[in-house]
């Protein structure tokens, strides 16, 4: 019997500061990082940058398949369930005398190394309903011997109005890729962005990052842009300049990079879950509401909440939802009738606590 993990595009970029890779080499670095942080000995198959494996096998973030010796699918599950998988394997190939326990694997849960301060630059307040856009970094030409990596990576998100009519709000964020172990240099000019457009079409057309008192940090640099580019929604180019420094490798580089933003949703960009979790200070995040719990289904990870406006809504908890109830983070400890503060992002609860 063989086991493989398939490494795919990030489901929740920004968790622990990780960002989507731009190149195949970077995705292979992610695989190495996954092996380092998890410590599993199961081999990985890395998806290609066109996400061919993800698309061909159902586009789910944590699905699992069992293939028989003839190469046919004999089990499939959209969400991996280790206990059910174990039962499947016992049915298919027989049980073992001494089953391996999770504790036997001595898995690690390490976090990325942190090279400078975080939580220094507050996250911006963002409108709801933003979706990630397809972006095209201008990667090095073939002639370049040693291309400069995208130490800082752009994530661009647009509201529905901008995606549909060409007029609306664009969220622009530059995130340092933790796999390069670099930080911003706050002793020099801050990150600088210029769009290839008139001030009428993109406001602000030019943006400079904030001045920061600390010499260095790793927080994202983010801002909102009002865009009016017409219904054609032609791609928008931008240039970004910044200094990336690595104390470990002893360099501080002035970097200039180019991007094109396409005003179409990128289905592989992942969904930011808890903006700021593991990255910057968690001042952002989705809107919070106070309501009364009327139904708790811990098996299905769903709750029904009577909101302050009298509306009753049923929500599913996101996989990484943060729950806090008098020291407990277990949904089963929440009881109907309790007043709770909930944070909702993209229709899912990402945080729930007693107010």
């Amino acid at each position: 019997m063989k086991f493989f993990y398939i490494y795919k595009a990030l489901a929740h970029p920004e968790n622990d500061g990780y960002v989507q890779p731009f190149t195949q080499a970077e995705r292979l670095l992610h695989v190495k990082e996954a092996r380092r942080t998890i410590g599993s000995r199961v081999p990985w198959i890395c998806d290609t940058m066109d996400n061919a494996l993800k698309h061909a096998l159902g586009d789910a973030p944590n699905s699992e398949f069992v293939i028989d010796p003839e190469g046919k699918v004999v089990r499939r599950r959209q969400w991996s369930r280790p206990e059910e998988l174990r039962r499947d394997l016992e049915e298919l190939v027989g049980s073992v005398e001494q089953p391996t326990l999770v504790s036997d694997l001595q898995l690690k849960t390490e976090r990325p190394s942190q090279v400078a301060a975080k939580g220094v630059v507050p996250r911006i307040e963002r409108p709801s309903g933003l979706e990630a856009l397809r972006i095209e970094p201008k990667l090095a030409d073939d002639g370049d011997k040693k291309p400069v990596p995208f130490y800082a990576k752009l994530r661009a998100e647009a509201d529905a109005s901008l995606r549909q009519s060409g007029r609306g709000t664009l969220s622009v964020g530059f995130h340092l890729d933790p796999l390069y172990h670099v930080h911003w240099n706050n002793l020099v000019k801050p990150l600088h962005v210029e769009f290839d457009a008139d001030e009428d079409a993109v406001t602000p057309r030019v943006w400079d990052g904030p001045r920061v008192d600390l010499d260095s940090d790793i927080d994202p640099r983010e801002f909102l842009v009002q865009v009016n580019i017409g219904e054609e929604r032609k791609p928008l180019g931008l240039t970004v300049k910044y200094f990336a420094c690595s104390d470990e490798q002893g360099f501080c580089l002035a970097v200039t990079q180019r991007y094109t933003i396409h005003f179409e949703r990128d289905p592989d960009a992942g969904r930011v879950q808890n903006r700021g979790r593991g990255g910057a200070r968690s001042g952002g995040g989705g809107p919070t509401s106070i309501g009364t719990l009327v139904w708790v289904d811990s098996k299905e990870s769903e709750v029904s909440v009577l909101l302050g406006n009298g509306e009753l809504k049923t929500f599913r908890l996101s996989a990484n939802a943060r729950l806090m109830r008098r020291g407990s983070d277990d949904l089963r400890d929440f009881e109907p009738g309790e007043s709770v503060r909930i944070r909702i992002e993209d229709g899912e609860i990402t945080g729930m606590a007693l107010p």
Partner: protein, 81 residues
């Protein structure tokens, strides 16, 4: 008396929730449900062969799904986050 009141309050609160759960049209389609629907529609079905798609091994060598034959094989999708 307090217990009766609590039970009555809970019943009042919980009744619409039960209806909401019975009526899927009233519920928002969560990202998780969207994933489930995508998977049901797009993933290979039981009995299907895996598509002949290639990925890369950890050292960057091509590996094709169609080559995973000869023994039972488990594939689990994952990523750093």
């Amino acid at each position: 008396m307090r217990a009766l009141f609590a039970m009555f309050s809970f019943t009042l609160l919980a009744t619409p929730a039960i209806f909401a759960q019975d009526n899927p049209d009233r519920r928002e389609v969560s990202p998780r449900e969207r994933v489930n629907r995508q998977f049901d529609a797009g993933a290979p079905k039981l009995g299907d062969s895996l598509p002949d798609i290639a990925g890369l091994t950890e050292d960057g060598q091509e590996i094709r799904l169609s080559s995973l034959k000869g023994q039972h094989t488990v594939l689990v999708f994952g990523c750093l986050t």
